[in-house]
């Protein structure tokens, strides 16, 4: 989980001795400060089991089958996608899952144009909240197959699924979203 940083900058010594700690020049026998330690290796490796829980498992297993499964709260009628096990408003256990086709509209988005270590996608790329038709919550995903400059809030989009043999219990089973509707047909 926590890889040792190759260069722990916080432990580096200052480039020059801090002047405030210098003894007055008139005293020849000024004591010198001990040389501070700059690095010591103590690498940790930690392995964990994550427990997805029943609610997330329903949704993640659906993705492996190419299905987007939503669930409705029996008490307040909120529809969740992705669904937890319990409604976060009224804590009721959500009803049986049902399938949505995943099409929806962009409710908000941003264009990531900044390169960073470990980046998976080549910038610039669009990260969006998608209001999937039939869901009361917003799903986060990438929007591709469109020039970022042409993306608009309210744009109709549809999911692009990974090939059947590539699908896993993960949101990466949906490769990305792309514009749908007549103007891009």
């Amino acid at each position: 989980m926590r890889e040792p940083a190759s260069e722990p900058s916080v432990l580096r010594e200052p480039a020059s001795e801090p002047s405030v700690l210098r003894e007055p020049a008139s005293e020849p026998s000024a004591p010198t400060l001990p040389e501070p330690l700059t690095t010591m290796a103590s690498p940790f490796r930690m392995d964990y089991t994550y427990v997805a829980g029943t609610g997330r498992s329903v949704f993640l297993r659906g993705l492996a089958e190419g299905r987007m499964l939503a669930r409705r709260c029996p008490a307040c009628a909120q529809v969740y996608l992705p669904p937890p096990e319990f409604c976060s408003r009224c804590l009721s256990r959500l009803d049986e899952p049902f399938e949505l086709d995943g099409r929806g509209v962009i409710s908000t988005f941003c264009v990531v144009s900044f390169p960073f270590p470990g980046q998976v996608h080549e910038p610039p790329y669009v990260v969006a909240h998608i209001q999937v038709e039939g869901s009361g919550t917003r799903l986060m995903h990438l929007v591709r197959e469109v020039d970022p400059a042409d993306v608009r809030i309210g744009m109709e989009v549809e999911p692009v699924w990974a090939g059947e043999d590539e699908r896993e219990n993960s949101l990466t089973s949906i490769r990305h979203y792309r514009p749908a509707g007549d103007e891009y047909a």
């Binding site: 940790f44 930690m46 392995d47 089991t49 994550y50 427990v51 829980g53 029943t54 408003r89 009224c90």
Partner: protein, 358 residues
């Protein structure tokens, strides 16, 4: 001081490894049970406080998942401590003392099973310069403490085995215990050493569980039930972090916390009927009993942590188990102790009574 009482307690069974439920899934039925027992609706709760630790979860801010069991919509007044939930209890008690509200819900979630190997994780909780690089086994510091106690004539391996036998036997009456049974002292002494002089059963078995305590002040507490476990005194104190500086055979932090709690309560640890002690190892019991001045008190009637240690929920379970015996009329006064850190570094003492302060 304001009169503040524990009015309800619930817990989930301590499981060696719960692979079915996420954090919210473990917690939600326990919160429902604790609130349902006193007819309190979630909207009536003025403050939520919780305790858990990212070291055990393997990710940062892991506790936020637990808010799905509280319902953070509409937004709630909430606080979390990155330690045993007994300290969340201390925060909620202080919050009620300040008059900020009347009802607080405290929950602890502990999942000791998620780390593939706790020996990978626990050194990270030690001093990173002098202790962590040595990678002592997770039970090594406890072994140092137990060996020093035996050498000082404060206990013996046979005494420790008797504590184990009594605890696991008491746990046969506790449906939430992870481990229980009627063992013989010789059987316990035949078990292999884990970290001398500590053997297999001297070490609390780590598991997964949640605990929930409902606190209420004054008239709100009286309205919610016939009996209340009034928190008459509470204090916690910490020893220095480098164990080599301490005399490991004594717990000065426990002694001072108990003295301060007694000052608040108007009665001391020696005057309680039962005590639930956060003993992660058998040798902690004589050490704590000595620091608290316990004499004829019944210790760990639930079986205590030697019957199940759901890491960061363990201390809150002690408070709940002690309070429960007052709520059901089996005890008039009770003490709960909780600890954090290696070799009993940080200790909390809570004194409760069926009677509010005069």
């Amino acid at each position: 001081m304001r009169d503040v009482a524990v009015v309800s307690f619930a817990q989930s069974p301590c499981e060696a490894a719960n692979r079915r439920d996420d954090m919210a899934g473990i917690l939600l039925p326990v919160i429902r049970e604790a609130l349902g027992a006193v007819g309190v609706d979630r909207d009536d709760v003025d403050f939520f406080a919780s305790g858990s630790h990212d070291f055990f979860e393997g990710r940062t801010f892991a506790y936020i998942e637990s808010l799905d069991a509280v319902g953070a919509w509409p937004p709630v007044s909430e606080s979390h401590v990155e330690m045993d939930a007994a300290w969340a209890f201390a925060e909620a008690w202080s919050w009620l003392q300040l008059g900020e509200g009347d009802i607080a819900l405290v929950y602890g979630i502990g999942r000791g099973s998620l780390a593939a190997d706790l020996d990978q994780v626990l050194p990270a909780q030690l001093d990173p310069y002098f202790l962590a690089p040595l990678r002592p086994h997770r039970d090594a510091l406890a072994g140092l403490q137990a060996a020093a106690m035996i050498d000082a004539g404060l206990t013996s391996e046979r005494d420790l085995a008797e504590i184990v036998v009594r605890s696991l036997s008491a746990a046969t009456g506790n449906p939430y215990a992870q481990k229980s049974g009627h063992l013989g002292v010789d059987q316990v002494l035949d078990a292999p050493y884990v970290s001398t002089p500590l053997r297999e059963h001297d070490v609390a078995p780590v598991g997964d569980a949640a605990a929930v305590v409902v606190l209420a002040a004054g008239d709100a507490a009286r309205r919610l039930g016939d009996r209340q476990a009034w928190v008459r005194g509470l204090d916690h104190r910490m020893d220095t972090h480098y164990p080599g500086v301490r005399n490991l055979t004594r717990s000065e932090s426990t002694r001072v916390a108990a003295a301060r709690a007694a000052e608040l309560a108007g009665f001391g640890a020696s005057e309680v009927d039962i005590a639930e002690l956060h003993t992660e190892y058998s040798h902690a019991e004589p050490l704590l009993a000595s620091a608290l001045g316990l004499e004829r008190t019944v210790v760990n009637p639930s079986g205590g942590p030697l019957a199940g240690r759901p890491v960061t929920a363990t201390g809150l379970v002690r408070i709940g188990e002690a309070a429960r015996r007052i709520l059901d009329g089996r005890a008039g006064r009770a003490l709960a102790h909780a600890t954090n850190g290696p070799a009993l570094q940080h200790n909390l003492v809570c004194l409760m009574s069926g009677e509010a302060a005069a």
